[in-house]
C-alpha cells in the first residue's frame, strides 16, 4: 500500500507532442536533474555495500586489510556460538514483534473505527512513541522494568509481595522485554495503517451485509479483514525490516545482556567491528543482515512497482 496508494498516470504522460525547437538540454533535463542523486546513490549505497561485502571476504582485523580470503570469515561467523544466539534472537524477536504489533495494531484500529469519542486524542497518545528516540524513552523503560525499582517493587509496595516482574534481568526472559518495548513504540504506526485501510473499504458491501442481519463479528471476520490483505502485507514488511535494523532499542534497554541474551545481529555487528578487533567478521554479519533485508525488500519493491505499471 505504500507505493500503490497513489495510482500513477498512464505511461504516455511524458510523450505528448513537443514543440519544435527543443534543445538537447530540454529533452534531457529530467534525467540530468536526477543525475546528482543517482551518483550519490551509486557511491554511498551501492559502492559502500560492495566495499563492505569485500571487507567481509578480506583478512581485516583491527583495521581494513584488503587481502582476499574468500568465504573464510563467513564460515567463521556461522561457526560462532554468539552469532547463533543473535540469529536465534532475531527470529524470536521478529516473530513475536510482528505478530503482537500486528494484532494490537489491528485491534486498536477496529476499536478506533467505532465512532469513538476523543478519537483524535487517543490516536495521538498511541502514536507518540514513534516520535521519540529509544535513547530517550529507554531511560524510562529500563527503570520501569528493573525489579528493584520499577513495577515489581511497586507491586510489592501495594502488598503483592510475591509478585514478580523481573524479565529484564532474566536471561531467558529479557528478549521479551525488548519485544514489549518495540511493540510499544511501533504498534501505533501499525494501527494507523489498518485504520486508513479500514476507512478505505467500500461501505456498500458492509451495508448490505448488515441488512442481511450478519453479526458484527462475522462481518469483520468474513468481509472486512480479508479486504485488509494489502495492509497486512505492508505491516509485515515494515515490521520485519524494523526488527532486522533494531539497534538503539537494545542498546538503551539491555545493551545485549544479561550476558548475550538479547544480542541481535545489529548489536553483534557493532561489537565485532568496533569493540573487538574483527572488522571482517563485523562486515560479514552486516552482509548477512543486508541479504536478509534484500530477500524481503527486493521482491516487495518489484511487485509494488510492477503493479503500478499495470494500473
Amino acid at each position: 500500500m505504500a507505493l500503490t496508494d497513489n495510482i500513477p498516470p498512464t505511461r504516455s504522460a511524458p510523450v505528448g507532442k513537443l514543440k519544435h525547437g527543443t534543445t538537447w538540454l530540454q529533452r534531457n533535463i529530467a534525467w540530468l536533474t536526477f543525475l546528482p542523486t543517482g551518483i550519490l546513490g551509486a557511491i554511498f549505497i551501492y559502492g559502500f555495500i560492495l566495499l563492505t561485502i569485500y571487507i567481509s571476504m578480506s583478512a581485516s582485523k583491527l583495521i581494513p586489510d584488503y587481502t582476499f580470503v574468500g568465504f573464510e570469515q563467513w564460515e567463521r561467523l556461522w561457526g560462532m556460538r554468539r552469532w547463533g544466539i543473535a540469529v536465534n534472537n532475531l527470529f524470536l524477536f521478529s516473530g513475536m514483534f510482528i505478530v503482537i504489533a500486528t494484532a494490537i495494531g489491528l485491534l486498536l484500529a477496529i476499536l478506533l473505527d467505532q465512532r469513538i469519542r476523543a478519537e483524535g486524542a487517543i490516536r495521538t497518545i498511541i502514536l507518540y512513541p514513534m516520535a521519540l528516540s529509544f535513547i530517550v524513552t529507554g531511560t524510562a523503560w529500563k527503570w520501569v522494568l528493573n525489579p528493584g525499582l520499577g513495577i515489581e517493587s511497586l507491586l510489592h509496595d501495594w502488598g503483592f509481595v510475591e509478585a514478580q516482574f523481573d524479565w529484564l534481568v532474566r536471561r531467558d526472559r529479557a528478549i521479551y522485554t525488548v519485544v514489549m518495548a518495540a511493540v510499544w513504540q511501533s504498534s501505533g504506526f501499525i494501527m494507523a495503517i489498518f485504520l486508513a485501510s479500514l476507512r478505505g473499504i467500500d461501505q456498500s458491501i458492509m451495508q448490505s451485509a448488515v441488512m442481511d442481519g450478519a453479526s458484527s463479528w462475522r462481518i469483520y471476520r468474513r468481509i472486512i479483514i480479508p479486504q485488509l490483505g494489502p495492509a497486512f502485507f505492508t505491516a509485515f514488511v515494515i515490521l520485519l525490516h524494523m526488527s532486522i535494523k533494531s539497534y538503539d532499542l537494545v542498546i538503551a534497554l539491555t545493551n545485549g545482556g544479561p550476558g548475550t541474551a538479547t544480542d541481535l545481529p545489529s548489536t553483534f555487528m557493532f561489537d565485532y567491528a568496533f569493540d573487538r578487533s574483527r572488522i571482517a567478521i563485523g562486515a560479514a554479519s552486516a552482509t548477512m543482515m543486508l541479504f536478509a533485508i534484500a530477500a524481503i525488500i527486493v521482491p516487495y519493491l518489484y511487485s509494488e512497482l510492477r503493479s503500478q505499471d499495470r494500473s
Binding site: G16, W143, I293
Partner: protein, 293 residues
C-alpha cells in the same frame, strides 16, 4: 468513517461500547506510562524518588533535575550542560531536513511527471537505499569523511544524513506527483512550458502537504539518530542523543534519576513538539513513506 459499528444493531450496545472504551483506556495507560514516569520523576527530589513509589505524584515540585541536566550535565571532565548538544542537533537536523526535501522534490518530480527510460528502475534502486541496514555503510562512510576532511565533524554527520535521507524524500514526492492529473502535464508540455517553470509554477505550490511530511520525517529521524551520531562525532560535534546516552551511563555516586529523566525529556522535546503541532501530517508521513528507517 465506516458506518459499520460493532454492536450497533444489538441490544448489548451499551455494554459493548463500554468494553471498547475500557480496552482503549488500558492501552492508553500502557502508552502513556513511560512518559508519565519520566515527567514525574524529573520533578521529584532524589530522596523522594528513592523512598517513594514509581508512579506516585510528586509531593513537592523540585526542578533540581532540570537545572542540573540543562546547565551542568557532564561528559568526562566537560560539564557544559545540554545546550551545546542541542545546538548541534538543531544544525544537523535543520540542514538535513531542508536540503533533502528540496532535492527530493525535484527528483520526485523528474521521476514521476517527466519519466525517462529507466526511471522506474532507478527509482527502485534508490528506494532500496532506504531499507539497507546502515551498519553496512558505517566503516566506508568513516573512511570517506576522513578522506575529504570531515571526520568526526558536524559537517560530515550532516552530509551523511543528507545522503541517506534522499531515498525517503524522493519517495514522498515521487508518490505525490505521480497522482497528478496526466492531462495537466500533457497540456503544459504541449504549450512548451519548461521543466523548471512547470515545477516552480504548478508542481511545487501544490505540494505543500507532502513537503510538511518530508520535513517532519527528516527532522525526527535525524534528531533521533543514534547509530551514525555515536560513531561519527566527537565532543564538539556530538548530537544530543549521543550526549544523553553518555549522561545516563555516567553514575558518579548515587544515580540521579531525576537528572537522567529531565535530560531525556529535554532531548525528546523538539520531536514531541513537532509531533504535537503537526501530528496529522506526521501520521500521513508515516503512511506515505511506509518505509520506516
Amino acid at each position: 468513517m465506516s458506518d459499520m459499528v460493532l454492536g450497533k444493531q444489538s441490544g448489548r450496545d451499551k455494554l459493548f461500547r463500554g468494553l471498547v472504551y475500557v480496552i482503549l483506556g488500558v492501552f492508553v495507560l500502557f502508552y502513556l506510562t513511560p512518559l508519565y514516569v519520566m515527567v514525574v520523576t524529573s520533578v521529584k527530589s532524589l530522596d523522594e524518588i528513592l523512598s517513594g513509589s514509581l508512579l506516585a505524584f510528586p509531593k513537592t515540585l523540585d526542578f533540581y533535575g532540570w537545572d542540573e541536566a540543562w546547565n551542568n550535565a557532564c561528559v568526562g571532565t566537560e560539564c557544559r550542560g545540554m545546550a551545546p548538544f542541542m545546538i548541534n542537533s538543531l544544525i544537523a537536523a535543520s540542514l538535513a531536513t531542508v536540503i533533502p526535501t528540496a532535492v527530493g522534490a525535484l527528483n520526485g518530480y523528474a521521476l514521476s511527471l517527466w519519466r525517462f527510460k529507466g526511471s522506474d528502475l532507478l527509482f527502485g534502486m534508490l528506494l532500496f537505499g532506504a531499507f539497507i541496514p546502515f551498519q553496512i555503510v558505517l566503516l566506508p562512510m568513516a573512511s570517506f569523511l576522513g578522506w575529504i576532511g570531515w571526520s568526526s565533524s558536524l559537517t560530515g554527520l550532516t552530509f551523511t544524513y543528507i545522503v541517506y535521507g534522499l531515498p525517503f524524500t524522493t519517495l514522498y514526492f515521487r508518490n505525490f506527483y505521480v497522482s497528478f492529473p496526466p492531462d495537466l502535464v500533457k497540456a503544459a508540455r504541449i504549450d512548451g512550458i519548461g521543466f523548471f517553470r512547470f515545477f516552480w509554477r504548478v508542481a511545487l505550490p501544490s505540494s505543500v502537504p507532502i513537503m510538511i511530511v518530508s520535513v517532519i520525517w527528516q527532522f525526527t529521524n535525524t534528531w533521533n539518530d543514534f547509530l551514525f551520531a555515536s560513531t561519527m562525532t566527537k565532543l564538539e560535534s556530538a548530537t544530543v542523543m549521543v550526549a544523553l546516552n553518555n549522561f545516563v551511563q555516567v553514575a558518579n555516586g548515587v544515580k540521579r534519576y531525576n537528572v537522567d529523566m529531565a535530560a531525556a525529556i529535554i532531548a525528546g522535546l523538539p520531536t514531541i513538539a513537532v509531533y504535537l503541532i503537526a501530528g496529522r501530517y506526521f501520521l500521513r508521513g508515516l503512511m506515505a513513506g511506509a518505509v520506516k528507517g
